[in-house]
Amino acid sequence: MVKVRLTALGKLFFLLILVFYLAAMTSQSGLLLLLIGLFAAALTLNYFICRRAVRYVEVQAPHETFLEEGEKLNDPWKVWNKGRSKAQLIELHSPAGLIMRLAEIPGQEFIARVPPLVFNRRGIFQNSDVTISSIAPFGLFRARRETGLPGRTVVFPKLYDVESPPAASLDRMAGGKLSGSQRVTSGMSFAGVRQWQGGDPFRNIHWKSTATQRKLMVKLFDEELSGRIAIYLRVAQESGNALESSIRAAGSLAFAALDDGHQVEFLDSTAIDPLSLAPFSATEDLLLRLAGIVPSKEKVLPEPSESLSRKAALCLVLPGLEENDLRMIETAAEHNRKVLVFVPVGVHVPGDTPARVFFYAHDRVETAPMRAGFAK
């Protein structure tokens, strides 16, 4: 359905019509009514032309696109004019901003263009929210129509490099970045040889030492360990820099932990179930979760530690530090959990906070923890 509204310029013209009409009433000459007629004709024409333009324009967009914050679309969008007359001053809008502007599309033709829109904000932008509008030809009325296109554009938060938070409950894990004291028969870091025992894989035979020792010798490797990290993000109740910074920080920490080979659980305050991610696994789900976080005015779920593994080190990424947050920290600390708190730079943290406190900004996490306040 096409909706037509007056633009600011159109409202100004209506006002001018009223002013001139009042002036015409006090003037002997009625010719001012001709001038009013000119304005009214422009308004009338604009109403019908922009309506017609929008009615016959169709859009074809890529079905699904994944981007990072600050990136532009790479694939062209096709805009068809199925009407006979040219369609002018066409704009495509999405909640992310103005996708593209087309001065003119001749009748029965199409234009394919890569949108110049830079997606500066993270989010999931449904193509069905894309609207076509036109202010042709005079900019006095704007006709708008929803496209109902399938598909979406997913904009991930722009993550940055950060050190992985310290993990807890180290377990043997192939590919783990931490080294254990034991020697095992598989791994990345060669640590020596021993005599072959039943059950050792034959491919691990170290032929050089076998030849020297005249008995079957197998390679040994340093034990690879990885830990568990649970990241809890309390979502700010309003959109803004605080929310975005916290999401970036949480995402960056999660990816850093995964890169270090740790097992990560991720939970935000708007979700019920945490996302479990094995190290080196596909991270699309996490990125999608991060992209889709929207602020919620609902109460924070109580005790995130109940939803997250108790063995994992708990990283609380908070947009600020409130009383509820301090209680949450104390509760977690009481269960002897390793608790790390991440708050924005500039937030005051009480000295007796029973956790290691880190500060994050728009594009970094300060790795040096606060001096005071350590987990018990």
Binding site: S27, L31, G37, Q88, E104, P106
Partner: protein, 638 residues
């Protein structure tokens, strides 16, 4: 200069020039526009502060010029805005400034609608109807894409719609009368002052038409009667009694002559209505309580400035001679004693005549023949102006002749009065009415004779009034007056009448169509046939030119034509074949004109699949190649 916004700004300049009612102003503004755009643009740095100063300077300059040339100073703001617009032509503007510039031009246009609504306004309006929408459209397009800003145009139906809606609203928007009463002399130099002292603005208004009058044997139109003479000046009698006009009886009607008057500029009338002869009845639509004073001048109670000022009156050709009372007679003959010299001159002028009226005619003839008419002569002696005029100056404007004649009549004991009014000079053959212009203001004398009543004497030298103009000027004036009557002055009453008469007009139109049914059918048939021919596919294709379709579409069109041509000669392209595959199949069949086919196909593929727009010379080459192919295939068949 081709930018529609710049052109619309020029219209605003011209509108302001029209307010001055001077060709020099129009030329000067046009020149200013050209200089700013052609020579100064991009070469002069202009800041906002400069613009503010220029605006202020323009307002002050206009005010001073108005004072210097005794013109109205009310337009100083409009003039200041002209200066601002001119300065803004010199530099690139942002969107808001462009919009402001357009609105200022609209303001100038609005001013000319109210202050100078003459026929030249039609040209301005047509220009505005063409340029204003285009300027608005360009403003929007410039925000989208600079290159297409000047390529895209409105279509002719849209221009027609703009005009149509403007005119329709002009006729249908309700009008309300809010005219204010006119006070005598308000805004215009009064007739009295104009005639008594032509330097007081009369010459400035000389050519403007004041009113039009229609009727038989129209005499001098009387507005003021000066009856009191103190030896120096003639003055109007104050508080002269007024009497109602008597409604004529039925048997008096055959002797009545009707006059109809259309007044263009009511403010110049003061509180009197110009009439000639013995007025018996009068009615009009822009005044109340018309009454006659003792000098048979028609005065009204309240006059207001409204549209379509008209009045009708009837003069009695069989008027009885009004008797003057002894008191009135004494009043109208009183004059200070004159010198012997003047008396001697008068006796000499009268010659041997004994009859009073013949004596008066002799004096009149002498003044007409021996003295000169001239405007702008120096002031006469304050103590003895008549003697100074007769013996020393011997030239002057009409008031001097009339004043002298009036005195001479009184010296002979004839009651006299000086009358000021208008003389309807030219007859406009296009309207059938007589034009009365401001410069037709005149003064003459009337003397009272027993048995004859008041007799008119015009002692001013010059050609007699009358004549018929047949040139462009008369035609333009006729158009101008019609424009005023039917368009400018289209008020609430006229609107009501228009809609009341509309059903009748439509009915009579339908009846006349029915009466000329055969002719109408012919005309309709021709129109329909023409429309069908215009929209026929073959004809439509002929009409397509390079400018109407994009180059890509034209190339595709030519490729389609080539396929049709080849199919006609037995070379069919399968639906599943791509253009290249079809070309290959032609090669396999040893098609003799493969080079031409390849050229057209390559051009098509480059455009359709490669996204490259062909240049215009390439399109011509494709057309030529296609033509060659057609000729070759035809020859082969023959």
């Amino acid at each position: 200069m081709k930018n529609p916004r710049h052109q619309f700004v020029l219209l605003g300049f011209l509108a302001q020039g029209l307010v001055w009612d001077s060709w020099i102003a129009l030329l000067a503004y046009t020149l200013l526009w050209i200089v700013c755009l052609k020579f100064l643009r991009g070469r002069v740095t202009v800041t906002l502060r400069t613009e503010a100063l220029v605006l202020l300077f323009g307002c002050i300059f206009s005010y001073l010029v108005g004072k210097l040339f005794s013109r109205t100073t009310h337009f100083f703001l409009g003039e200041g805005l002209i200066f601002l617009q001119a300065v803004r032509l010199v530099r690139p503007l942002n969107r808001k400034e462009k919009l402001t510039s357009l609105l200022i031009a609209c303001f100038h246009f609005g001013v000319v609608c109210t202050l100078a609504p003459n026929i030249r306004f039609v040209l301005l309006f047509l220009g505005a109807a063409a340029l204003f929408p285009k300027a608005l459209q360009t403003l929007q397009l410039e925000e989208f894409d600079d290159e297409s800003a000047f390529h895209s145009a409105l279509r002719w139906p849209e221009y027609v719609a703009v005009l149509g809606i403007s005119v329709a609203l002009f006729f249908t928007l309700p009008r309300f009368f809010t005219g204010a009463p006119i006070f005598a002399g308000a805004g215009e130099p009064s007739l009295l002052h104009t005639v008594l002292d032509p330097s007081q603005g009369g010459s400035q208004n000389s050519d403007r038409v004041l009113l039009q009058i229609e009727g038989e044997k129209i005499g001098y139109l009387r507005c003021y009667s000066l009856t009191e003479f103190d030896g120096v000046r003639w003055n109007i009698e104050k508080n002269a009694p007024l009497r109602k006009l008597r409604i004529p009886t039925a048997d008096e009607y055959p002797h009545l002559l009707k006059r109809s008057v259309r007044v263009k500029n009511g403010a110049a009338l003061g509180s009197v209505l110009p009439t000639d002869g013995n007025v018996r009845w009068l009615q009009g639509n822009f005044f109340t309580r018309p009454m006659e004073n003792t000098s048979t001048i028609i005065e009204v109670g309240v006059m207001w400035n409204t549209a379509n000022n008209t009045y009708d009156y009837f003069v009695d050709t069989n008027a009885f001679v009004e008797r003057l009372s002894p008191a009135a007679s004494q009043k109208l003959t009183s004059h200070p004693a004159q010198s012997e010299r003047l008396k001697a001159w008068l006796r000499k002028a009268e010659g041997e005549e004994s009859d009073p009226i013949k004596k008066a005619r002799a004096v009149e003839r002498l003044l007409r023949n021996s003295y000169s008419y001239k405007l702008g002569t120096p002031e006469l002696n304050r103590l003895n102006p008549v003697e100074d005029f007769i013996f020393n100056r011997t030239e002057g404007h009409c008031e001097r002749f009339a004043a002298a004649m009036g005195l001479f009549l009184r010296m002979e004991g004839v009651p006299s009065r000086v009358v000021i009014g208008y003389v309807a000079t030219t007859h406009n053959p296009f309207t059938g009415w007589r034009q009365v212009r401001f410069k037709d203001a005149h003064a003459w004398t009337e003397g009272y004779f027993d048995e004859l009543g008041w007799v008119q004497f015009d002692a001013t030298p010059g050609p007699p009034a009358g004549g018929t103009g047949t040139g462009w000027r008369e035609m333009l004036e006729a158009l101008d007056f019609a424009w005023y009557s039917h368009v400018v002055n289209f008020d609430g009453f006229a609107q009501k009448q228009f809609f009341a008469s509309l059903p009748g007009t439509l009915t009579s139109f339908v009846d006349s169509l029915k009466a000329h049914q055969r002719k109408v059918m012919w005309v309709v048939g021709v129109l329909v046939a023409g429309l069908i021919a215009l929209r026929a596919p073959g004809f439509k294709k002929q009409r397509v030119g390079l400018g109407r379709k994009t180059p890509g579409v034209i190339v595709a069109h030519h490729y389609g034509k080539m396929l049709q041509l080849l199919a006609h000669h037995g070379y069919y392209r399968e639906p599943s074949e791509t253009p290249r595959e079809f070309l290959q199949s032609l090669q396999n069949e040893n098609f003799p004109h493969l080079a031409q086919a390849r050229f057209v196909t390559d051009s098509f593929c480059r455009t359709a699949y490669g996204g490259k727009q062909p240049a215009s010379n390439e399109i011509h080459q494709v057309e030529d190649t296609l033509h060659q192919l057609k000729q070759a295939l035809r020859q082969k068949r023959n």
